[in-house]
Structures are given as structure tokens and as C-alpha cells.
Symmetry: C2
Subunit: 210 residues, 2 copies
């Protein structure tokens, strides 16, 4: 085993440290966030910093980097109040990664990377047609994190579109059957293999498989 | 494809909805958080709501449920200012899941589920000896999320202990080689298979594999 102290990693080169710290937090979901600006231009960006905040109300958060590093998605969400989250699948992994390039404001990443817009219900924000699990969010709160000028952006889930045959009898989604990917760090992608589900744990009882 | 509206899911039974909403956000890392209370009693709990907040300073957040639902870990972190995050591996998946049972305050989950405490450097919080990737955190901020009475708990990474041979030349950690698991929903566990890493994306250039 290797031990690394804060005094060690603080001396590291910026990109080396970023790769390391980003990997430490482990596997993440990998998602495309679709938005529109006030002039009805579409934007698409890749985000792996999603976090489940609650089921009732159904709240999802993501971390937006400082405004100067990642301005367009957050500006559009503020302007319109709506956005979509779309799971990334193997068939468009390269296109999804390419949305992380710093395109100018007003450039439509859907066109640039070869993905297609889809509209559902009364959500003005574009979904990714190629995605097999996707949902619309209405903005509820933007919480500034003053420690490093990032933002926790919280939305409430609205309309959801999922592939057939992944919804189980108890509400659970077998997302690996839709080939949703996991990610690690800023640039690596993984497929997953289901191991087990376990019953709700209670003190003094051995964990039971579902 | 199946379409579900907010009006649909709001009528669902509580546990069915929780399974569904928890699965929508996709794969997550799965971690044990180790703490001590003021009386030096150890506590261990499982958390999948981790989120990378930044690399410089090296900040990691997790969502703590409302105090009445999950009181011990957050109380201990407030009291001592330190905690550990430990990746869950297949060899102790059942023990890790069992820590989610509602044990009384003062019960040491390490003893209850058969995991072992380990201490590193000057971190007073216990690590999980069996874990192959683990790190200490010092509390930086607790941000209340008033929308649903949860908390974003942010710590700065201190001492790190990782298995040999997973650190790459560019700082990236091949965590799948240590068999770190991913999770989905509240109760399902997955192994992962590495697909690809891609270079930093730039406008107008096809994504290149690393």
C-alpha cells in the first residue's frame, strides 16, 4: 500500500493532481445536460458530478464549475429554468466526450458532435434522442459553494423517458440493461456488471439478497 | 420507450418511488464513512451520495439525509472535524451493506458487521482496514439544503492510502484494478469493466483515445 499526505499532493503538478483527486471519489454516472438560451439556441455539455438529493420531492443536484470555466449550461438554466439529463451509452461515448470541448457561446454542440435533439411534453430544453434514459428538470435552487466558487444546482424531476423492460416490479431500474455507462476521473468510461441487490438492512440480521 | 410524468410518479407508493428516483441518477461510488464521537466511540456508515467538488483545494462532498434519519455520522463529524472515506470492495460487500441498518448511538458498526479499524497519521477517525482505497477528510463546511432538510457536507482530503500498482503516470487511478464497486439505487452493487480514456477535447478535433 502507498501512503500520500496532503503535503505530498499539494506539491504535484496541476493536471497530475486533478487526475488523482478526481479518481479518488470513485465511479460516477456520466450524463449530458441539455439546455436552451433565451434566443432558443441549444447547448449540450457532459457532467459527471451528479448527486441524488431526495426522492420526495424528487431532487437531483450537480456541481457546476466556476462560471468562467463552465458558463453556458448554468446561464441557460438560470434564463429558462429547465434542463434535461441524459444517460450516456456506448453508441455515442465519443460524441458525449467531445461536448466537453470549449465551444463558443451560441454554438450548438448537438450539431458539432452529431447527436440529435428531441422534445417531450412542455419542457423547452432539448433531450438527446440517442439516450435510452433521460429526464427533464425544473430548477429549484442554485447554492454557491464559496470554498472554490462552484455551485450546487438542484432541480426537481419532471417528465422521464426510459427504455422498455428496465423498470422492475419494485420501481428499481436495471440501468445496466440499457448500457448506461459509469465514469472515473475526467476522461475514463466503464461498462458495468450487476452483482447483487440486498434487502433493507436491520440490526442483528445477516444481509439478505433480494 | 416509456414516458412517465411528474403527475404519474407523485401518485406512486413511497418505496416504489424511492427505488425509481434513486436509479435515475445512474451509477455511483459506494463508500464507508468512518467517524468517532466525543467519547472516542467509532461509527461506520455506507454512503453513495459522494460528489467531487474540486481538486485545488481537494474537496469532496456527500449528501447527509435529514438529521432524524441519519444522525450519527454528521454529529460525529461536527464534534471532531475529521472523517474517513473508504471504497467498498467485493470481499466485504455484505458487511458494508449491513452498516446501513439503524444501529443505536454508541454501537460500533465495525464490530457489528465484522470489519476492522485502522489508524493513519494524525487522523482520529477510523479507516476500514479491509478497504484498498481510502482517505481522511477534514471538515470544511456543512451547507444545509432547505428544500428537503438534507446537508451537503464538504471536506478537504488529507492522508490517502491506496493499493500499489493502480496509480498511473499521469496521476489517474485505475480503481477497477482494486475492484472498487459501483452502486445503483439504494441496494444494488456492480463490478466495472474499463472501456477507454479520451484526451482533453478541443473544438473541431475528433475525440482521441489516450
Amino acid at each position: 500500500m502507498e501512503i500520500i499526505t496532503k503535503a505530498n499532493y499539494q506539491t504535484w503538478e496541476r493536471f497530475y493532481r486533478a487526475n488523482f483527486i478526481n479518481s479518488l471519489t470513485g465511479f460516477k454516472s456520466i450524463n449530458l445536460i441539455g439546455t436552451k438560451n433565451q434566443d432558443n439556441k441549444s447547448n449540450l455539455g457532459i457532467f459527471s458530478s451528479l448527486v441524488h438529493i431526495g426522492s420526495d420531492p424528487a431532487l437531483v443536484g450537480y456541481i457546476n464549475r466556476p462560471i468562467q470555466a463552465a458558463p453556458h449550461t448554468l446561464a441557460n438554466i438560470k434564463e429558462t429554468g429547465f434542463y434535461t439529463i441524459n444517460h450516456v451509452c456506448p453508441s455515442f461515448i465519443e460524441a458525449a466526450h467531445q461536448t466537453s470541448a470549449k465551444y463558443d457561446e451560441g454554438i450548438n454542440e448537438f450539431d458539432e458532435v452529431g447527436l440529435h435533439e428531441e422534445y417531450l411534453g412542455d419542457c423547452i430544453a432539448p433531450f438527446v434522442k440517442e439516450s435510452k434514459i433521460k429526464y427533464a428538470l425544473q430548477l429549484r435552487e442554485i447554492i454557491p459553494i464559496t470554498l472554490n466558487n462552484t455551485f450546487l444546482v438542484i432541480g426537481e424531476i419532471q417528465t422521464i423517458k426510459i427504455e422498455d423492460d428496465i423498470l422492475q416490479d419494485d420501481g428499481f431500474l436495471h440501468i445496466e440493461k440499457s448500457n448506461s455507462l459509469a465514469s472515473n476521473g475526467t476522461d475514463s468510461y466503464y461498462s458495468t456488471s450487476f452483482l447483487n441487490r440486498y434487502k433493507y438492512a436491520k440490526p442483528g440480521i445477516k444481509p439478505l439478497k433480494l
